[in-house]
Amino acid sequence: MGTAAGMKQGDELLALSDVHMHFGKVAALSGINLTIRKGEIHSVIGPNGAGKTVMMNIINGLYRPQKGTIRFKGKRINTLKPHARAKLGIARTFQKVEVFGGMTVLDNIRLGRHVHYRSGILSGAVYLGRAKKEEIEHRAFIEEEIIDLLEIEQIRHKPVGMLPYGLQKRVELGRALALEPELLILDEPLAGLNLEEVEDMARFILDINEEKRWRVTCLLVEHDMGVVMDLSNRVFVLNFGNMIMDGTPEAVQNHPEVIKAYLGEEDLYATRA
């Protein structure tokens, strides 16, 4: 769908180089370099307030860094607005669910397909021909690819605001997926979920990363170390605007500085499982 021709597994998909971001005098990021390769699950961990969310916001355009470049598929995207970046294939979920509470699950996911709709306002107003046909095509896509994948058949017509938190998170993931992104930013997708939901969510993330149909590259921000270590190909550790390290999960787990700044000595609380 949106895949750029010639992109292979392992090619550089997104690169931040020397990104600086400060709010007033407070430096949120000071010189971050991050490369995400196609097909990877790349996790970002770090203490609260380390700047993870800021980093995500920079990637999808909610913030503009003061210095540094962001390249996506080789193209500099510093100046693009979030909606333009979405069109390029960057989707995200939020730390606190940011669903459209008044809309049904289906409409939320339909909204994720916004950039794939072609009909204009006039054909929408008469709702004949193109607009109608398009609605049906997209509905089929949503049902077959997303609702089926995320197992949310029972709730498709329910308003999202009425759903329990875990399902809202799932809907949010579905909405992001509907964009058919190349890069999916998952900002704490597991926060506030119980183990069962965490397992499901982990399964979905793996599915969308590994299934041939999707092959979505994921950027995962998460505190649940069990999941991060099990799923990620690489882990990036951020501490107050600076990178501590970027490496394989095993290397990160044993890095003394990471343990000191983030993981703690005991594994007791590190993961819920």
Binding site: Q95, E197, R203, L231
Partner: protein, 270 residues
Amino acid sequence: MSAENMILKINNIEVKYHEVILVVKGVSIEVPEGGIVALLGANGAGKSTTLKAVSGLLKHENGAVTDGSIEFMGERIDKLGAEKIAKMGIVQVIEGRRVFEHLTVEQNLKVGAHMRKYGRSIKEGLDKVYHYFPRLWEKRHETAGFISGGEQQMTVVGRALMTRPKLILLDEPSMGLAPLLIHEIFNIIQQLNRDEKISILLVEQNAKLALNVAPHAYVMETGRIVMDDSAEKLRENPDIKDFYLGMTDFGRRKSFREVKHYKRRKRWLA
């Protein structure tokens, strides 16, 4: 548990929102004086609602306890307003780190002391909070909306502490926090329980964590209590192991890579 030293008794309550939506049904929970009790359960099971029923915040969301009773130190509180309940010594730490974003950390804490006259006691209260959370001292003049999630959580717990509570209702204190911070906050919670003799009713998704700090726990599903037992016993329960602790039958942790596409069958719901 004998009936005498229970600080909080929830007797068979039923909670409805907007007079029609039944969320909690026949829930009974008891918290011993100076104890920690955990309430586990899936999202949407009604845990937060139960807490709000106790703290009286339910009325604010158009909810009401339509049956049963809640007793705090022998007095019925299910019909009282939130501020009366707070005055009696129950404080709820609402989920989602609800600081007063536009106030500074110290102002946040001072609002916690609203029920007292200003003066020395406030000073003492602040000192105590800063003693438990030295990090807040460093941030005390910063706007609470801009401090990190962990510090916000500390602010919220500190603010609760400022009310000089007898019972704290903690709603998912670990949500979205880094491992080290979770550790820190839970240590402080245990400390508060130990040193300040504050009873705690804890709602937590992270069952392992909850069962570590709480000697007794209740399990809630779809608005009902389905199980309650001591932490040790719960930890041995195969369903709890499977659904809440993520252990295989051999006591090992399951890898999240190997989660299967199986249909879930909960034995207790069968």
